[in-house]
């Protein structure tokens, strides 16, 4: 593993985690207020993964994620305002209001988009990484996905090819214990998802996904390995999901208590303790929180004030 991050770095992460948390709070509140329809899949409780992983990347490196990808977009440098405007399906949104909560993208920041078909973005991410390899541009791709996605064929097929061709790809599984209502242990008969790697000949590691420094360390090592041309790594980050799969999920959980345990595992207070122990002041932390909130409140106001795309533009962007 790499060395312990500096206090300044950790403070930066703390601010980012709050930015993500407030973004998701606003997303849920906006959805409940009817500011947009459909659904939204918050990453609350999982912020440490996006933040720790993104910190291991160069700006030119690329990220792909799922519908639960608002945090990854923010961590990769997208502006909350253009993301929130996209959630609200406004023309100022990052995808011109066509994509909504599940389809975010920021190519200029290396954020190659989120996807609403579970696991479908994993081969796409590998293709982006193969393009990097062919162009010899030194870029690495990080792809985020859930535990559920590791039961889909596209995940396995891609592991096989990525190892075969030593693709500069880092596969980060956010094991949050559930795929909608299905607990990981009733879908996957092995202890750690990182063990999947054993059947494919790539390194597989499991880390505590609620500690951004541990995530950062594992991802940094995998990124270095990928940049050296040694191929992909599978990283499982254990975490705990926000109580509901999405803002519209309504079904019953077999074990309600299990589904609510994220609050006890919240990575933010945990990082706060570390920061205070390392000498940060409560005032510093408060300033970061307030900034995160202000950015998001401005973002929401911007999104609300923005226009919906004109009906006449509905046919734009189909063909190049």
């Amino acid at each position: 593993m790499t060395t312990e991050p500096e206090l300044k770095t950790l403070l930066g992460w703390y601010g980012q985690m709050w930015t993500i948390r407030y973004f998701e709070d606003n997303a849920i509140a906006s959805f409940r207020q009817g500011l947009f329809t459909g659904s939204t899949h918050p990453c609350i409780g999982q912020e440490a993964i996006a933040v720790g992983a993104a910190a291991a990347l160069e700006p030119a490196d690329q990220v792909l994620a799922t519908y639960r990808g608002h945090g990854h977009a923010i961590a990769k440098g997208l502006e909350p305002r253009s993301l929130m405007a996209e959630l609200l399906c406004k023309e100022t949104g990052c995808c011109g209001g066509r994509g909504g909560s599940m389809h975010l993208c920021g190519v200029d920041k290396g954020f190659m988009g989120t996807n609403a078909i579970v696991a479908a973005h994993i081969p796409i991410a590998a293709g982006v990484a193969l393009a990097n390899q062919l162009k010899r541009n030194g870029r690495v791709v990080v792809v985020f996905f859930g535990d559920g996605a590791t039961c889909e064929g596209a995940f396995f097929e891609t592991l096989n090819m990525a190892v075969l061709w030593k693709i500069p790809l880092v596969l980060v599984c956010e094991n949050n214990g559930f795929a909608i209502s299905v607990p990981t242990r009733t879908a996957i008969p092995i202890e750690n998802i990182s063990q999947r790697a054993d059947g494919f000949g790539l390194p597989g590691v499991t880390v505590d996904g609620n500690d951004p420094a541990l995530v950062h360390g594992a991802v940094a090592e995998a990124v270095a390995r990928a940049r050296r041309g040694e191929g992909p790594t599978l990283i499982e980050c254990k975490t705990v999901r926000w109580e509901r799969h999405s803002a519209i999920s309504a079904g019953k959980y077999a074990n309600e208590e299990e589904a609510m345990k994220w609050k006890k595992a919240d990575p933010i207070p945990r990082l706060e303790k570390v920061l205070l122990a390392r000498g940060a002041t409560e005032a510093q932390l408060q300033a970061l929180r307030e900034k995160a909130k202000a950015v998001n409140d401005e973002a929401l106001a911007f999104a609300i004030a923005s226009e919906s795309p004109k009906p006449a533009t509905v046919g734009d962007f189909v063909y190049a």
């Binding site: 459909g38 406004k90 209001g97 909504g100 609403a116 039961c151 795929a179 079904g251 077999a254 509905v314």
Partner: protein, 318 residues
Amino acid sequence: MAEAINEAIRHEMRRNKDIVLLGQDIGAYGGSFGVYKGLYDEFGPDRVRDGPLCEASTAGWGVGLAISGMPTIVEIEFLDFLTLASDAICNQAAKMRYFFGGQVSVPLILRAPIVNRLGLGAQHSQSLEAWMMHTPGLHVIVPSNAADAKGLLIAAIRDGNPTVFIEHVRLYAAKMPVEEEDHPIPLGKLRVAREGTDATIATYSGMVKPSLEAAAKLAAEGIECEVLDLRTLAPLDREGICASVRKTGRLIVAHEAVKTAGAGAEIAQSAMEGAFDYLQAPIQRVAARDLPIPTGKLQDSVFPGAADVEAAVRTAMA
């Protein structure tokens, strides 16, 4: 309609102990749209098999169960994910009885809802029934109301052939008087949802209600539309469609799938082949625009509604 489907399945599972359910989130959770509420409690984890996320293989396992004499219902959470299960459905289930010379039957039902106009975007808003219609060996069922859903699902389960049963999320909440009794509805027979003499509107699933609304509005002006709820696309009740067109002389086909190469083209051409001499105006199509489906307000520019049906009837009458 969710309740009606639930009742149909419960009824059949009680009657036939071999029926198995496969899918994701179908256990205690009751299905991603709640259609399976209570079934896990009643029938237990063996028969209500809540499984990992792998639609392709889930459907393949369903084929294996089915050819072993266990009628199987596989749930796909959104019809859009049919892409993943299409090999099991189209290359296996639809063809297996045939290429094995009748040695097996494939009592497999794939249930999936159309989930549109909710704002979930391009990968969660599609109506893909035309692909299934174009696959010989399948039955394709597209109910528009609770009573039909129940009767058609019971019939499909007993029929014992591979079936794609397409529900509609907007219709789930709709409660209509559902036959208490066990009342299968024969596959391949349309339902005349409204009688009329001036124009025929052939439609199904989510467009039946807007079509009836349009018909009611036009009736106020003396234009009497016959609204046909096709109920099944395969088998398609070509004779029923042509009979109505022979009476009215005009046909409007309405669906929520995108227009090009949709079911509407087949329905229209069926009337062309069987009732050309009676056609007084070109057959009109009302359908979604040929675009990926956007989120937000833009959706309204893509999907058709009662006003579009009305306009099409007026065009046909002009």
